[in-house]
């Protein structure tokens, strides 16, 4: 009666059935750090009330959501954040938390253990405490975050380090990998430093240079790649991204998007039930009808097989949902130079 399955079986089913199986919920934009690369244009939004989150999680459960990612801002700046986690767990949602890890006092860690959160992802930017602290704008933050990672591990809580690499941290990749090994946690790197969600692109100056990208992308441990293309032009009837089928994101005001990087608003959960927005919002229906062949340049681009274009970023940074993403193009050029290809998981679209 019981079959072990892979999470991809579930996300594939969700994609076919248009079930928002994994939803990201931003519970606030407030933060106790001031990171140089932050994608938020403003930290003013404090999030919905606890009772509204309780209602929201009931609605998510009814919609078939299985996984929720709770993030901010810094979610632990909310005094009631653990109650929000409890409300999600009460609906048997599998909870992952994105945090900077600095506000995790021992009693909070014990509660997280008791609530069986799936994983806590902690942002660490460098294995050099001074560099990390210079990025967060918070002296002592490296020590506090890594101490709390260790405390969570001691409690048996699953922890992962998340690390967006920047031009000032790229040469510390090996030390970061060693730090993760020493702590005994997985580390997940990204080369993506996005514009702020208000369109401010000043963060782009922090991005890796092409030379740095060339060196880093060749490291298959840090940035998994494929040796053969998995993304072919004869698949132009595929969708540019799955998240509008099986994802979803809700901002601190209750606005619903396909993803927190794909700023097409389908509605607001304070006005319309989540499932109705997810299934019927004309904006989302239109996005679901988008196919690769609708993208203006992709069909004739000789970088196509090397490209891991994100439609949300193309819209946010280049102003055109169907146009070329300069950031993706730049990355694709580096991959072509290395004769490597994006993996299925970093293309995202259904092939």
């Amino acid at each position: 009666m019981i079959d072990k399955i892979d999470v991809r079986d579930m996300t594939g089913m969700a994609r076919r059935e248009i079930i928002p199986i994994s939803v990201l919920v931003e519970v606030c934009y407030t933060c106790n750090q001031n990171c140089v690369h932050c994608c938020l244009g403003s930290h003013a939004k404090k999030g919905l009330r606890l009772d509204q989150y309780r209602q929201l999680f009931v609605q998510l459960a009814q919609a078939g959501t299985f996984f929720v990612i709770l993030t901010g801002g810094e979610p632990f700046t909310r005094p009631d954040f653990l109650d929000i986690v409890k409300a999600a767990r009460k609906q048997r949602l599998s909870v992952t938390i994105f945090t900077n890890g600095t506000l995790l006092i021992p009693s909070i860690i014990s509660e997280l253990k008791a609530l069986y959160v799936q994983e806590v992802h902690v942002s660490i930017y460098s294995a050099n405490p001074e560099i990390h602290d210079s990025i967060t704008g918070m002296p002592g933050s490296f020590q506090t975050s890594t101490d709390n990672i260790q405390r969570m591990l001691d409690e048996g809580i699953g922890v992962r380090i998340k690390c967006p690499l920047m031009n000032r941290t790229a040469d510390g990749l090996e030390k970061l990998k060693r730090l993760a090994r020493d702590l005994g946690v997985m580390i997940q790197f990204t080369n993506v430093i996005t514009a702020k969600n208000n369109g401010d692109s000043s963060t782009h100056q922090l991005r890796l240079t092409k030379e740095q990208l060339g060196s880093l992308l060749a490291d298959g441990e840090a940035f998994p790649y494929a040796r053969e293309p998995v993304h072919f032009k004869d698949n132009m009837d595929c969708t540019p991204c799955d998240t509008v089928f099986n994802g979803g994101a809700i901002d601190p005001c209750g606005n619903v998007y396909p993803c927190n990087q794909w700023q097409v608003k389908g509605g607001n959960v304070l006005e319309t039930p989540f499932l109705e927005i997810w299934r019927n919002a004309p904006e989302f229906v239109e996005l679901r009808n988008m196919r690769l062949r609708h993208l203006k340049q992709c069909g004739t681009c000789d970088l196509f097989e090397f490209c891991s274009r994100c439609p949300g970023l193309a819209m946010l940074e280049d102003g055109d949902l169907c146009g070329c993403s300069e950031a993706a193009k730049s990355l694709a050029e580096v991959r072509r130079g290395l004769d490597i290809y994006p993996t299925q998981s970093n293309i995202f679209s259904k092939i």
């Binding site: 009666m1 019981i2 072990k4 399955i5 767990r89 009460k90 048997r92 949602l93 599998s94 069986y116």
Partner: protein, 101 residues
């Protein structure tokens, strides 16, 4: 576990029933499973407010059982679920802090 025990889902599990199929993630074991049709029906009955014998009756109402195997099969299945940590049992009704799917 005996017939008069109440059965509840463990606090360590995340779960959802989608299209009649129960998907369950064991947060402590980091293991994702799905149940077949009968298993999913049983899972939907595990609310903390029903006894093993009540779940057996619900299964008998739901499925034909000409050979009379349901009571033993369902009781064994629930016992297996308890052994594997999916459910817990108690002589008294659960308060039901996490009963939703």
């Amino acid at each position: 576990m005996i017939g008069t025990d109440f059965v509840a889902k463990g606090i360590n599990v995340s779960s959802r029933i989608i299209g009649g199929v129960a998907y369950i993630y064991m947060e402590d074991k980091k293991e994702l499973v799905q149940f077949n049709e009968v298993g999913s029906f049983v899972w939907s009955c595990v609310t903390g407010t029903k006894r093993v014998e009540q779940i057996v009756v619900l299964c008998q109402e739901q499925y034909d059982d000409p050979s009379g195997q349901i009571p033993e099969a369902i009781t064994d299945f629930l016992g297996e679920l308890e052994k594997e940590g999916f459910v817990v049992s108690s002589a008294t009704e659960f308060e039901g802090v996490m009963t939703n799917d």
